[in-house]
């Protein structure tokens, strides 16, 4: 293994590989350390949506829109088949109550500049013929897109390598050495690398890498279970979410106060179809620590919820299921930027938005690391926003 590096990126998921790629483009000397394989954590256990409609209207959505622009040309830039498509996305509405919430949501999204329209049930079914008859409406945006998250990660990694980045897999970080207020080295299961700069891109595991230097990083793992179907002819166009999912994402109270099990497990539809024809049917949102197992209870609830919205799923086979740990913060926004320890940077806590935000995260983190600041103000994402909170 290498003895020294200018910058050590910890974590070989979509965020770490993206940052390494953009740093290498700036001519920096970068090493990636990954404890498993590339994309073996949450980047390989998630859905494929690059959704604009699910983002919080505000700077979160602004970042996502910038990221979506980069995705449009990323296949050519990385020279890697990341299975990008711009097939739009839909949020389906089942009740008058959800309709009222979504009307407000759409209004705010439009103010930020997202092209989104409200459809009635008939219009929704003309785009997605598989929708159940009881669907009373949907929001739709042409700006929602899709990508294969594993190949996006491998694409960033392959291009980063081409630019000189060295990637060490099956290499776990065991310590970070700090001498008189400055980082001096990263210790791993395969030896030590001298460096002054560390970028923590370890998602749900970021707190462990923070503790190594006495930093408290308030990220919690939130389990998301997903069902995979057998490959099918085209059944679903673009991304599909249920308004219920949006409600649970932006109003955590709903989940906390819920009496029924499905709502407590945060069950809401997220549906997409991969290029291979497999359907990805999600998802749950559960706080159960670092347990990545799938449960019969949640899978059953996910499937029943999906069948209610897409009745044709009844006759389709599940071939697999998995769970990923979404790195979750209290305010639902990622932690981006430097820290009180000189040379220690964090890019983690994207929860379910890591794939969508990976390109812009890579670009802005490279700016912060190389120039000391990014071209747009990211102070809202700085870890100091949690100071004084428990």
């Amino acid at each position: 293994m290498r003895k020294t590096a200018e910058i050590v990126v910890i974590g070989g998921g979509v965020i770490g590989t993206s940052i390494a790629y953009y740093l290498a483009k700036e001519g920096r000397d970068v090493v990636i350390l990954e404890k498993g394989d590339l994309a073996s954590g949450s980047s390989g256990a998630c859905d494929k949506a690059i959704l604009m409609q699910s983002k919080k209207p505000g700077i979160h959505l602004e970042l996502a829109l910038k990221s979506a622009e980069i995705y449009k040309t990323l296949t050519d830039e990385l020279e890697y088949p990341i299975e990008y498509a711009n097939d739009g996305g839909m949020i389906v509405i089942e009740t008058e109550e959800e309709l009222a919430v979504m009307k407000q949501f759409v209004k705010k999204q439009r103010e930020i500049g997202l092209g989104v329209e409200l459809l009635d049930g008939k219009q929704a079914r003309s785009i997605q013929p598989a929708l159940a008859d009881h669907i009373i409406g949907a929001t739709h945006s042409d700006q929602d897109a899709q990508v294969n998250p594993i190949h996006a990660t491998l694409g960033f990694a392959t291009s980063a390598k081409r630019l000189g980045v060295e990637i060490y897999q099956q290499t776990e970080v065991t310590g970070i050495k700090v001498v008189s207020g400055a980082i001096t080295a990263v210790e791993t299961t395969r030896g030590q690398i001298s460096t002054r700069n560390v970028v923590n891109c370890t998602g749900a595991y970021a707190p462990f890498l923070g503790r190594m230097v006495g930093l408290n990083i308030p990220i919690r793992p939130r389990r998301g279970q997903i069902v995979i179907s057998e490959p099918m002819p085209k059944l679903i166009k673009g991304d599909m979410l249920s308004a219920k999912y949006i409600a649970a994402k932006h109003n955590p109270d709903i989940v906390e106060k819920a009496k029924d099990k499905a709502t407590q497990m945060g069950i809401g539809l997220s549906l997409g179809q991969a290029d291979s024809g497999n359907l990805l049917i999600g998802a749950s949102r559960e706080f159960v620590g670092y347990d990545k197992s799938t449960t019969y209870e949640a899978l059953s609830a996910i499937i029943q919820n999906a069948i209610r919205i897409i009745p044709a799923l009844k006759n389709i086979n599940m071939i697999r299921n998995f769970a990923g740990l979404r790195p979750s913060t209290m305010d639902g926004l990622p932690i981006l930027g430097g820290t009180e320890l000189d040379g220690y940077y964090i890019a983690a806590g994207h929860e379910g938005d890591g794939i969508a935000l990976a390109p812009i995260t890579g670009q802005f983190m490279a700016e912060i690391i190389c120039q000391g600041k990014s071209s747009i103000d990211l102070s809202l994402f700085h870890i100091s926003r949690f100071d004084g909170q428990k």
């Binding site: 498993g36 394989d37 590339l38 994309a39 073996s40 390989g44 594993i150 491998l154 990637i167 897999q169 099956q170 069902v227 179907s229 057998e230 490959p231 029924d260 099990k261 499905a262 291979s276 799938t294 899978l299 059953s300 609830a301 499937i303 029943q304 999906a306 069948i307 799923l313 009844k314 006759n315 389709i316 086979n317 599940m318 071939i319 697999r320 299921n321 998995f322």
Partner: protein, 93 residues
């Protein structure tokens, strides 16, 4: 077997992945069953690796010198075979 024939040996039948492709991926640094699955889809098809997993493991062992015990996955996940999703209808919510 001639070299040309060898290139066409299919290891993952569901996803049509050849021995040569797997060896190429190992050379690129994808040296675990999961890494090869992510790179090439070997084991991602209808049988979920039940046919090819041991074959992939053997090729990794050959190419990297690791033991089969080190390479084979310790856990498997349900379902054991594809199950129609309608079977879950009417379960407790």
């Amino acid at each position: 077997m001639t070299e040309t024939n060898k290139k066409e040996v299919i290891i993952c039948r569901c996803e049509d992945v050849s021995e040569a492709e797997i060896k190429q991926a190992i050379a690129e640094g994808f040296t675990t069953i999961n890494a090869i699955k992510k790179r090439l889809r070997a084991g991602m098809g209808l049988c979920q690796g039940r046919t090819c997993q041991k074959l992939v493991a053997r090729i990794i062992a050959q190419e990297t010198g690791k033991s089969m015990e080190e390479i084979l996955l310790p856990t498997t996940r349900p379902p054991v075979r594809p199950i129609v999703m309608g079977a879950f209808e009417g379960e407790d919510k």
